[in-house]
C-alpha cells in the first residue's frame, strides 16, 4: 500500500512538471552519422546532413556542426537553407540557433549576412568564430547516432545511440544526454549503490525524469528519479529505489535560496517501514550564520535545533576558532523518550530540552621537519540536558604529508574521537552491567562490553602512498588503515586493519576507469575479507 502511495506521489509530481512531458526540441539534426563529443559539447552530422529548426527553417549540407556551447550551427559543403518559400544556397552557412542571424559563405564572393527570412543579404566580413568547425576524430565520439533532437542549454536526444568509447555500454534505441548545469541536476535522493547508470526518459531545461540501472547488495535493481531545477536557486528531487520489491525505499529533497541570506531545505525518506523528514532554514550574516532545523520521524519522535555559529576568528599563529551554540529539544509523542525509558517514570518524559556549545580550532597547514607539512584540528562539544545529564565529544586530528618527488607523496593521519554520556548519580541506571555479553556477528561473545559505562573512543590511523604525475589523469594510491576503538571486537564495529589500493586512469581520451581493491584483515572470524570497486566515467 505504501509503495502504491509513493508511486502515486511521484507520478503526480511527474504529471505536474512544467512542460516536462511535452518538452519539444528546437533543433533536429540528422545524417548518415551523427557524432557527439561530450567534453566539447559538439554534435557533427555527416554524409548528407540536415538541420531543421522549430521555426520551420530547414537546411542541408555535406556536413553540419552544432556547437551546444554557443548555440550555433555551421553547414559545410553544398549548403542550402530554406525558410518558407525563400531559399538560399552557399558553400558554407552559419546559423545562430538563439537569434535570427544567418551568414552565407560563397568561395567566389565571400560572406553575405541575412536573417532566417533569407531576405536582402548584405556583404559582410568573414567572422572566423562563426565559421569555426572542430577538428575531431569520430572514433572518439561519446555517442554515435543518426538523429539528434536538441533543446539548447538543456539536453540532446540521440537515436539510435551507440557508445563507441564506453566499454560495455550497450546500444539503445534512444539516449537523452543532459548538459544543463543547474545545481538540482546534481542532487539525488537515491541511496548509495555499487553501480548506478541513469537513463534519461524525459528532459527539459528545468526537469529530468530518469530510470537508474543499479547494482545493490549483489543484486541488479532499478530506480526512478525526478529532478526539477530552477538555475542554482531552487530544486526539487524525488526518487523510488527498487519500487517492485519489499525493500523499496523512497525519498525527496527540495531547496530554495531566499535572497542573499537565507536558504530553505526540506527532505524526507522512507525505508524499511521507517519514515523521517527534516526542514531547515539557514541564515548567513556575513561570515556568521545560523539555522533552524525540525526533524520528524515515524514512531512519534521529533527534534528541534536552533544554532548560531561565529565567524572563523583568526587567532595567533593563524589558528582559526569557531564557536557554535545551539538550543533545542528531543520529543517523543506520548512520552517514553529514549533513553529516559529506563526511569520508573519514563513515560512522563515526552520532551527534554537541551543546549550546547561547540568550539572548533584548526591550525593552518605548516611546514615541519624533514620536508613535511602538518595540520591539526580540535573540536570540543558539550550538550546539557534539562534532565540531569550532559554529553561530551572531543575530537582531535593531525594530518601530515610529505612530497617524495613531483609525482610521489606520502600522507599520514591520526584521529581520536572521545564521547561520553554522563548522568550524575544515575550512571549505573542508564548503563547497567549487562546480564549477558554482547554477541558479535559470528556469535562470539564480547566480554569487553561489560566495561561500557557511557564512554567510548574511536582512534583511526592512516598511511597513504600516492603516485600522481602532475600533468596526468593517472593516480595510484596504496593505503593502510588501522582503527582502534572501544567498542570494537571480531566483526563488531570498524575492521581493525584495512589495506586498500585505488587506481584511476584514462586508457582512452573519452574513457576513465576507477578501480579499487581492499582487504579487511582478521575481522569477523575471517583471515581477510576482500572487496572490489569499479567505475567507468566518460
Amino acid at each position: 500500500m505504501r509503495r502504491c502511495l509513493t508511486a502515486a506521489l511521484v507520478g503526480a509530481v511527474c504529471a505536474a512538471l512544467p512542460q516536462a512531458a511535452y518538452a519539444r526540441a528546437t533543433v533536429l539534426l540528422q545524417g548518415g552519422s551523427v557524432s557527439f563529443f561530450a567534453d566539447t559539447l559538439a554534435v557533427i552530422a555527416r554524409d548528407g546532413a540536415s538541420l531543421r529548426l522549430v521555426d520551420g527553417t530547414h537546411a542541408v549540407a555535406d556536413a553540419v556542426y552544432v556547437d551546444l556551447k554557443s548555440d550555433r550551427a555551421v553547414l559545410a559543403g553544398h549548403a542550402r537553407v530554406e525558410h518558407g518559400a525563400a531559399a538560399a544556397e552557399a558553400d558554407a552557412i552559419a546559423i545562430d540557433l538563439d537569434s535570427n542571424r544567418v551568414d552565407l559563405l560563397h568561395v567566389g564572393t565571400g560572406v553575405s549576412r541575412t536573417t532566417r527570412t533569407l531576405a536582402n543579404p548584405v556583404p559582410a566580413e568573414i567572422d572566423a568564430q562563426r565559421f569555426a568547425f572542430p577538428d575531431v576524430d569520430d572514433r572518439y565520439a561519446y555517442i554515435r547516432a543518426r538523429h539528434a533532437a536538441i533543446t539548447p542549454r538543456a539536453n540532446a536526444r540521440f537515436s539510435p545511440a551507440t557508445f563507441p568509447t564506453s566499454v560495455g555500454a550497450v546500444p539503445v534505441p534512444s539516449y537523452l544526454y543532459t548538459f544543463a548545469t543547474a545545481a538540482g541536476f546534481g542532487v539525488s535522493t537515491l541511496p548509495g549503490a555499487t553501480f548506478d547508470q541513469p537513463y534519461g526518459l524525459v528532459g527539459t531545461p528545468t526537469s529530468l525524469t530518469a530510470v537508474h540501472a543499479r547494482w545493490e547488495n549483489n543484486d541488479p535493481a532499478f530506480a526512478l528519479q525526478e529532478q526539477l531545477a530552477s538555475g542554482d536557486t531552487a530544486y526539487a528531487t524525488g526518487a523510488i529505489d527498487t519500487p517492485l520489491r519489499g525493500t523499496s525505499t523512497s525519498g525527496f529533497n527540495a531547496y530554495q535560496r531566499l535572497g542573499t541570506r537565507y536558504t530553505f531545505l526540506v527532505d524526507g525518506n522512507s525505508a524499511f517501514g521507517s519514515r523521517e523528514g527534516d526542514a531547515t532554514l539557514g541564515a548567513a550574516f556575513g561570515p556568521a550564520g545560523g539555522r533552524l532545523t525540525y526533524h520528524l520521524q515515524s514512531g512519534g519522535y521529533s527534534s528541534f535545533d536552533a544554532s548560531l555559529r561565529s565567524p572563523d576568528e583568526v587567532l595567533i599563529g593563524g589558528i582559526t576558532l569557531r564557536l557554535t551554540a545551539d538550543i533545542g529539544y528531543d520529543a517523543q509523542r506520548g512520552g517514553d523518550l529514549y533513553p529516559y525509558t529506563v526511569l520508573p517514570d519514563g513515560r512522563s518524559y515526552a520532551t527534554v530540552w537541551r543546549h550546547g556549545l561547540d568550539a572548533f580550532l584548526a591550525t593552518p597547514i605548516v611546514r615541519a621537519p624533514l620536508g613535511t607539512t602538518i595540520g591539526f584540528t580540535l573540536d570540543a562539544d558539550r550538550t546539557w540536558y534539562a534532565f540531569p545529564r550532559h554529553g561530551d565529544t572531543v575530537t582531535a586530528a593531525a594530518n601530515a604529508s610529505k612530497k617524495l618527488s613531483k609525482s610521489l607523496a606520502v600522507f599520514a593521519g591520526y584521529q581520536n574521537a572521545w564521547t561520553s554520556q554522563i548522568y550524575p548519580d544515575r550512571q549505573a541506571l542508564f548503563f547497567p552491567i549487562p546480564l549477558a555479553p554482547l554477541l558479535t556477528p559470528d556469535g562470539t561473545p564480547y566480554f569487553g562490553w561489560y566495561a561500557y559505562n557511557g564512554t567510548a573512543v574511536a582512534r583511526y590511523m592512516n598511511l597513504d602512498l600516492q603516485y600522481a604525475p602532475p600533468t596526468s589523469s593517472t593516480s595510484l594510491r596504496l593505503s593502510a588503515r588501522h582503527a582502534d576503538d572501544f567498542f570494537q571486537f571480531d566483526g563488531l564495529g570498524r575492521p581493525l586493519w584495512e589495506l586498500r589500493f585505488d587506481a584511476q586512469f584514462r586508457p582512452f581520451p573519452n574513457v576513465g576507469i576507477a578501480l579499487g581493491r581492499s582487504y579487511d584483515f582478521g575481522w569477523g572470524g575471517r583471515r581477510w575479507v576482500p572487496g572490489w570497486s569499479f567505475a567507468i566515467t566518460p
Binding site: 567534453d39 568561395v107 572566423a128 572542430p134 548567513a284 544554532s307 597547514i365 600516492q466 602532475p470
Partner: protein
C-alpha cells in the same frame, strides 16, 4: 623531392570546395594549385595542405607535425577571416584544478569532482591529495572543451556550499593550454 619533403603542411578543416576555391574552417578562402582537385577535400573532415610559392594550396597528408590552420599566412587567402582562429580540437590539453577545503572537512574524506559528463555523478573523479586541505587534479580534455563541474565529498549530500551555505554555480574548466581553475570550498552541505 627534397622541396616536397621540406614543404610546410597545415592541418585544415575544409568547409567547402568549388572550382579552384577552398573554404576552410574559420571562413577563409584559399586558391587551389594547378592540377589540384576538390575531390581531395571532404567538408568537415580534417586534412593537410601545402602552400606553394604562388600562394596556392595543394592537398597533402597531415602528419603529426602539421601546423594549425591559424598559422596559414594571411597573404595566402583570397578572403581572409577577420579573426584568426585555431579550431584544432583533436589535441588534448590539461586543465589544472586546485581545490582547497575548509578546516572542518573530515580529515580522511576524499574529494571528488562531479561533472555534467557523468550526469553529475558525485563520485566521478577522485582528486589527488596535496596536503590536509588541498587537492588537485589534472583534467585532460580536448582543446575548446568547456566542462562544468562541482566539488563533492563523494555523495550528493556532501556537495560544496558557498559562504552563505547556498549552492554555488558550477565551476567551468575551459580546454585551453595551461588552463588552471582554483576553487575555494567555503562549506559543505552536511557540515555547518
Amino acid at each position: 623531392m627534397a622541396a616536397a619533403a621540406a614543404a610546410v603542411v597545415f592541418r585544415i578543416i575544409p568547409l567547402a570546395c568549388s572550382g579552384d576555391r577552398l573554404a576552410v574552417a574559420g571562413g577563409g578562402v584559399l586558391r587551389l594549385a594547378e592540377g589540384s582537385s576538390c575531390s581531395a577535400f571532404v567538408p568537415g573532415r580534417a586534412t593537410g595542405i601545402t602552400i606553394g610559392d604562388d600562394g596556392r594550396v595543394a592537398p597533402h597528408p597531415a602528419g603529426p607535425d602539421a601546423l594549425a590552420a591559424a598559422k596559414i599566412p594571411r597573404t595566402a587567402y583570397i578572403f581572409a577571416p577577420a579573426v584568426e582562429t585555431d579550431a584544432d580540437e583533436t589535441t588534448l590539453v590539461t586543465v589544472q584544478i586546485d581545490v582547497s577545503v575548509p578546516p572542518r572537512t573530515p580529515p580522511g574524506d576524499d574529494i571528488y569532482i562531479s561533472t555534467e559528463r557523468s550526469n553529475w555523478s558525485p563520485s566521478e573523479i577522485r582528486m589527488d591529495r596535496v596536503d590536509g586541505r588541498h587537492f588537485r587534479y589534472a583534467l585532460q580534455v580536448h582543446r575548446g572543451a568547456r566542462i562544468a563541474f562541482r566539488v563533492t565529498r563523494g555523495s550528493s549530500a556532501t556537495l560544496e556550499r558557498d559562504t552563505a551555505r547556498a549552492l554555488p554555480p558550477a565551476h567551468i574548466a575551459a580546454g585551453e593550454p595551461n588552463a588552471r581553475v582554483t576553487v575555494v570550498v567555503a562549506a559543505w552541505a552536511d557540515i555547518d
